[in-house]
């Protein structure tokens, strides 16, 4: 069965305050890195999944992202899928 490598990017929705991102942005200034106007912290989740075809793999990953990996009340997610060589 084909193996797919997926990367799910979970980000806080734009309307949700990200105090950890703000604190990190302030630290960037103290490091001496200038010009950082926005810094938001999300997470990237790597998933390997076996499925008969790409459409099935994507459908399963979408369900996984929407119902478990992200909470749609506060987070958005996006998905990249590649067939493992």
């Amino acid at each position: 069965m084909p193996l797919y490598n997926a990367r799910v990017q979970v980000s806080l929705r734009p309307s949700v305050l990200d105090p950890a991102g703000e604190a990190t942005r302030a630290a960037a200034g103290r490091l001496g890195v200038e010009g950082v106007t926005r810094l938001r912290i999300g997470k990237a989740i790597e998933v390997d999944l076996e499925a008969p075809d790409r459409a099935t793999a994507e459908a399963r990953l979408e369900l996984l992202s929407d119902r478990l990996l992200a909470n749609p009340v506060i987070e958005d997610w996006s998905l990249e899928v590649v067939e493992a060589g």
Binding site: V16, L17, D18, P19, A20, A23, L68, L69, N71, V73, I74
Partner: protein
């Protein structure tokens, strides 16, 4: 009557809740391990505070799939009284029994302090021992208690009388100063403050006692 207390790997207020119910109020309890499915004979169920499954992924995200919670959903929908304290409140939102989500405190600090609250019991079964507009003090102990919900949904929650507990001086940036929420039926209550830590004068006030005693008649 017997009150069930759910125990997840990482729960740490389960024994506090048992002490408050049994030691302070003389109320029998039964621990429910997260893999159990038998809720028979329980007159209410409490989801205690702590860090269920290490708070991995998000607070309450993994707990939501525990076998005991699959049963709890039906129990709550049939009108069974359910109380979620702190991590238990986070679990109730992940489970969809209450709307919204609890996110990182505005100031990033873990807050552990007595907090002034205003109670609007409305139809919430857990709060019938309090007067409308009564001010009480309960301890909070959380890093992720900032309530977040769609603004139109918050308006609806306010209109339906679901916002039953509010911070008098918002410590964490919660939208609408929300400290506790009930469902429209009034049988489910989720709150960030810890009523079980305010049931004995030796450990900080008695304001939580009436909440935990609510169902004893």
């Amino acid at each position: 009557m017997t009150i069930g207390i759910v125990v997840f790997p990482g729960s740490n207020c389960d024994r506090d809740v048992r002490w408050a119910l049994e030691g302070c109020l003389g109320q029998p309890t039964r621990f429910l391990w997260h893999e159990e499915r038998d809720l028979s004979g329980l007159d209410a169920v409490v989801l205690p505070g702590g860090f269920s499954y290490g708070d991995y992924l998000r607070c309450g995200a993994i707990a939501r799939f525990a076998p005991v919670l699959e049963e709890l959903r039906g129990y709550a929908e049939r009108g069974g009284p359910v109380l979620g304290i702190c991590n238990g409140f986070q679990v109730l939102t992940e489970l969809g029994l209450l709307p919204g989500a609890l996110t990182r405190n505005r100031g990033l600090h873990f807050l552990c302090e007595p907090t002034a609250l205003e109670v609007r019991p409305g139809g919430c079964r857990w709060l019938q021992g309090y007067d409308e507009g009564e001010r009480i003090v309960l301890p909070i102990a959380h890093g992720e208690g900032r309530y977040q919900v769609d603004p139109t949904q918050l308006q609806q929650l306010e209109q339906e009388g679901c916002v039953v507990l509010r911070y008098s001086a918002n410590p964490n940036g919660s939208m609408g100063d929300v400290a506790g929420l009930t469902n429209p039926q009034g049988n489910v209550l989720g709150l960030m403050p810890h009523p079980e830590r305010a049931c004995d004068p030796a450990t900080g006030g008695l304001d939580g006692r009436r909440l935990l005693a609510a169902l004893m008649g």
